[in-house]
Symmetry: C2
Subunit: 332 residues, 2 copies
């Protein structure tokens, strides 16, 4: 679990996309962010005070979140001085890159000396058991998708916000690094050993009180040939009462695979429901969350209307329309 | 890759089931086995000469295979002396247990001193890329199953034997530890990081000459809630032209899950074909391999006959009838 509040390290991010992890934390948990730390050449700026490490510590930050990514997922040497300052100032470091803080002896030594933690959240810090698929109490919602990066995390967080606003007992369960920063815990399921995918999700969203909803962030797609194994293990481990399908209508091919067409939305819903029934026989899909940011707004409304009619389900853009029509379909 | 021939360590195995890895190597590759090493209390005996380490080395063995398993998958301390003798005698050690030889400093030191290898085959020794699902040349067959441990490895090896007897260019591709011992290489796919399941199989069975068949050992089942993610990633990575369904008709519930019924065989075939089509649109199922060892032989024949009629597919017990009717259905 990450100590709060956070200081967001955006490093030398060339644009906001490179800092999307920091941007996600700021967007969904602004109250947890005291400021941002930028290095020379940084072109991503969040609407947060720019601070030195010392200023961040003085403002109460307990964790420096490395909220910037580069193509290789590595930690460049010129970030290390800033990280040492943060440890010296009493902050933990939280890192979502593939590269590990704990592989840098200079950081390990400094952290040990100051009693601070190096949290490589992309790599599981614990062992999991295998999943069992045994029925468990509580209620669970899982976001699934036609593809990777179609808005599953944003949709899940929007659902949490809407449900809490209605007084429902709902909790976001993170399965990727940005989600882990936002919620302060979770498991990066794509980094779990294959045998334990469903077991890790059973651990993440365990048996709970009957009125409680765990809202589980989905990953990948059953139709993405690189990652479908992760998606299926996640689906079985989630034992979801309810699925929300996520989609991005302007995408021309599956992410990272120029020769692979996007799946049909209706077929994708049916395939997910069929697979989910293995551990949740009464699962249903309550609607579709569409990231319409690539469409002109008039076109977006027409598209959502047509889709809702075709599928017979509420279809919304979570960041434009909100997700109330989806939450309306949850029985209390 | 494992150096041949092998000396099989059965340790203090209380029965042949505990030594099933050694038994599998002996059954499928007797020509690679020079003898067996037994410790005090061992109750598993293979029809192979019992040897000391020195006798095995003198007989030409290059690798000591740890072909015995216990419930926790750990290496007891009283095995270590024998392993040190093997390193001293010039043998590599190959281990399929969860516990690692490379975590034992005394073994690491002895291996380094003698220039020998500690092969923890259950843990991948290399990194994999993510799968792409791009079409690749060559032909591939994958064994799939209604459950875990229903004979996928034995069926795949029986297919290799039959195809080679017919002069076909066919190669067994191992995805589990016993299979790796038998073939001398492969990848324990359930131990791969989740993101790379399909990528590991694309690496294991890469593009090949058009007449070449890779026969890929399946794992788990799409209907096993603990492991279906592994099975799906394997199915997508295999990009199989042909599936063979494996089944065990006397099993009352899914392996390890007393409350979970076995899936319907026809539904299991259809679900596997539907999922396989994502990366292999023309995939077909050529038949069913049934482990009938739990049925009286008259009943077994009647069962196979009924099943063949119901499914419209050849149904055989590979170890009783052989797999010729399956290979007949492969177009050359």
């Amino acid at each position: 679990m990450l100590k709060r509040p956070y200081l967001l390290f955006v490093g030398d991010a060339p644009d906001l996309l490179a800092a999307k992890s920091a941007a996600g934390v700021w967007q969904w948990r602004p109250e947890l962010c005291v400021g941002q730390v930028r290095l020379c050449g940084c072109r991503a700026e969040l609407p947060l005070p720019v601070m030195s490490i010392e200023e961040g510590a003085a403002a109460g930050a307990r964790t420096l979140i490395i909220g910037v990514a580069n193509a290789g997922g590595f930690i460049p040497d010129f970030w290390i001085d800033t990280f040492l300052q943060a440890l010296e100032a009493g902050l933990d470091l939280a890192n979502g890159l593939h590269d590990r803080l704990s592989d840098r002896p200079v950081l390990v030594e400094a952290a040990a000396k100051r009693g601070r933690r190096l949290l490589d959240v992309r790599h599981p810090s614990r062992a999991f058991g295998v999943g069992t698929g045994e029925p468990r109490s509580g209620r669970r919602l899982l976001t699934v998708g036609t593809d990777c990066s179609v808005g599953k995390m944003y949709t899940t967080l929007a659902l949490e916000r809407e449900m809490r606003a209605r007084g429902m007992d709902a909790e976001f369960c993170a399965t990727g690094q940005t989600g882990i920063f936002i919620s302060g815990g979770g498991v990066a399921v794509d980094a779990v050993v294959a045998d334990f995918i469903s077991g890790a999700i059973e651990w993440l969203a365990p048996a709970a009180a009957e009125g409680h909803w765990d809202l589980i962030e989905g990953q990948g797609s059953l139709f993405h040939p690189s990652f479908a194994g992760v998606s299926l293990g996640l689906l079985h481990g989630a034992q979801a009462d309810v699925l929300v399908m996520c989609h991005e209508p302007t995408r021309r091919h599956m992410r990272g695979l120029p020769n692979r067409a996007m799946p049909d939305l209706q077929a994708c819903i049916e395939t997910n429901l069929a697979a989910a029934r293995l551990t949740s026989p009464h699962v249903r899909c309550i609607g579709v969350a569409v990231n319409c940011s690539g469409l002109p707004s008039a076109e977006a409304q027409a598209y959502l209307g047509r889709l809702a009619e075709d599928l017979g389900l509420p279809c919304v853009d979570p960041l434009v329309d909100g997700v109330a029509p989806l939450v309306d379909r949850l029985t209390p």
